[in-house]
Amino acid sequence: MSLALHYIANLLLILCLVTSMIQSRFLFNIQNYNLFSISQISAIQFLSILVSFFILIFLFITSDFNFDLVYFHSHSEKPLIYKLSGVWGNHEGSMLLWILILVLFNFLFSLSKSRSQKFKEITVAVQSLMIFGFVLFLLLLSNPFNINNENFNDGLGLNPILQDPLLAIHPPILYIGYVGFSLIFSLSITGLLTSEVDKKWATIAKPWVFAAWSFLTAGIALGSYWAYYELGWGGYWFWDPVENASLMPWLSATALIHCVVVLQRRNTMQSWTMVLAILTFSLSLAGTFLVRSGVLNSVHTFASDPGRGLFILIFLFIILSSSFLLFALKSEKINKPSLHNISSRNTGIMVNNWLLISILIVVFLGTMYPLATDLLYNQSLTVGPQYYAISITPIIILFLFFMILSPQLSWRESKLLKILNEMRYILISCLTITFLTTLYFDLFNFTEILIIFLSLILIISSLSLGLNFKSTKVIVKSNFGQSIAHAGFGIFMLAVVSNAVYSQEKIYDAKVGSKLQLDEYIFDFKNIEQEEKDNFNSIRAYLSLSKNGKDLGEFSPEIRFYSDPPTITSETSIIHQFFSDVYVVMNVPQNQESISLRLHIKPFMNILWLGVIMIILGGIITAILNRKKYEENAIN
């Protein structure tokens, strides 16, 4: 049985390899093969990987320890959902998932309407060439279907920190985002090869790029939410190298989606759009590489293997060098002369593009600098959150300013004074709100006040741009996606700043029966219990929370001791309220008498997540709303 599955899965991978070779023939001008259409071959590519992925899932569910991958990363006593997430909780499985999404995008694109048969052929060919590279890598260097000849009774288990429902869906979502940009990359290469980077190109690329961006955003947000409640450090973003590795493609992708819009509307910024498309995909690949390589110290180095990182580095090098060479040869041809005024929406978007790239440079330097000084000068440095806060704050202030201004400007030319006049009510009301809130909350830091003020204007002005308030009804305009995403960003920034200012924490060595206090909250430490569960033992503390004599709920933070593999994890306990989260973490007990508890008050967390959800929704809405126009344009 195991042997048969081993052969079937490998044959399927080889089938995908062969079909990908056939698909990439268009790049080499071989046209005399017409047995199947492009979409039919893409379907074979997709199905072969899909079936082999299902085989891998089947192996994990049935705990077939004859397979190395299952033996190393699963355990028969694990709950079903974690057997399932174990499929992509390791290097080989996640590579297969990566390839599955790659062929899925290829398949979906081959079904969609495109500007011409040739355009579609070349795009699918570029995409298939990448599929070929990755499947070859999978077969030769990290085959998930390797079998062993021993008879193992049980597996070694999955890292317990990964045994979490959110983490079961975080990698697939993030990967859809990362890999989605492979299609944008293929589209760009096709555009460069055929010298057809224009309005039509943008119309074809737009839904894909917005969809990929929304998934990437959602993936990062899920990871962040997971870190918030699982790691128990009381934060949602740690500027950890792996988090940064996903933030970098996001920043570049955010610049890219705006460029695609400009290209679609004004037929300008061709070169810059191409650069961003190539950059975004390269950073996505590098993101995968960083997570997998273990080059960087991080909480994520659970699936590390330096040898395989080398392949991704080589792949990255080939992609970067060939695509930039192509770009250098073709950029003259695709660029159209652009004529527009200084105070136009173009300028605003260009400025914010550059500001996003500046933030990207901050994140890049912060992540790579300690490595560089260590290698070159043998001096260790720590680049903590403070560096990012100091460096990004001035950029963010400018960014918010242009984010408010740009949508108010027309594409051609606008008078700044006129805009100021139109916005006077919004400005005055926001100034008043800011003034009152700062007085009420005793907030006296100028930078924070400025960010709050700008965020407020951003929220109100964005919403008023996307919605048309008539006397009786509200009309949703076609740029509703943009409006909701921008307002979401304003809400997000508002929450980030207020959270940073008003977070409180305290560490207690507490005994059962004692009452702990933080701000106006009283924590009544009631009990402590030991429990035995399916795959771990736990110590659980019980506390009840009250404020001004009102009961608000129960905490039950927990320490878990897993046996396979032996690991200790700390489970946080959070009470969500509308304006603030109250958060309790238990530290590993050092002695019998008391237990060290860390209490946090995290204000505005719900509002922060609301902002993020609005940003994601905005992206999805734009991807879908664009669809109709796209179909019409593609036919013409």
Binding site: V351, Y369, S380, L381, T382, F446
Partner: protein, 120 residues
């Protein structure tokens, strides 16, 4: 005249910013600046490892002895290297880290605005 309250507001804010720091907040601010030597990416404030506790006691003692934040950080850097500080100090080795982003940003913005003006 409509906005005459703005400068008054700004002045009030700035005055109130200079509120005195107590010793305990000074200590906690310092804890957040110092990296825990044995754990990954945590400050001694977040960590309850033994070495982190020792460092906390040390910093508290130094504050009691009347040393300034700068002196305490200087002592730690001398003993453990720059690595101990969560935020890298501004010096020759870190010029690129601290100033490159702002310079690159400025150059880019100048290019954008100059090009546009030339074409307008």
């Amino acid at each position: 005249m409509k906005f005459s309250f703005v400068p008054i507001l700004v002045c009030t804010y700035i005055l109130l910013c200079f509120s005195a720091l107590t010793e305990e907040t000074r200590a906690i601010n310092l804890f957040k600046e110092v990296r825990c030597l044995v754990c990954q990416g945590q400050t001694i404030h977040e960590s309850n490892a033994e070495i982190a506790e020792d460092l906390k006691t040390l910093i508290r003692e130094k504050i009691d002895e009347g040393e300034t934040d700068k002196e305490i950080k200087g002592f730690l850097v001398e003993k453990y290297g720059d690595w101990i500080l969560m935020t890298p100090p501004v010096k020759e080795l870190t010029y690129v880290l601290w100033f490159a982003p702002i310079i690159i940003m400025a150059i880019g913005l100048i290019v954008i605005f100059r090009r546009k003006i030339a074409k307008a």
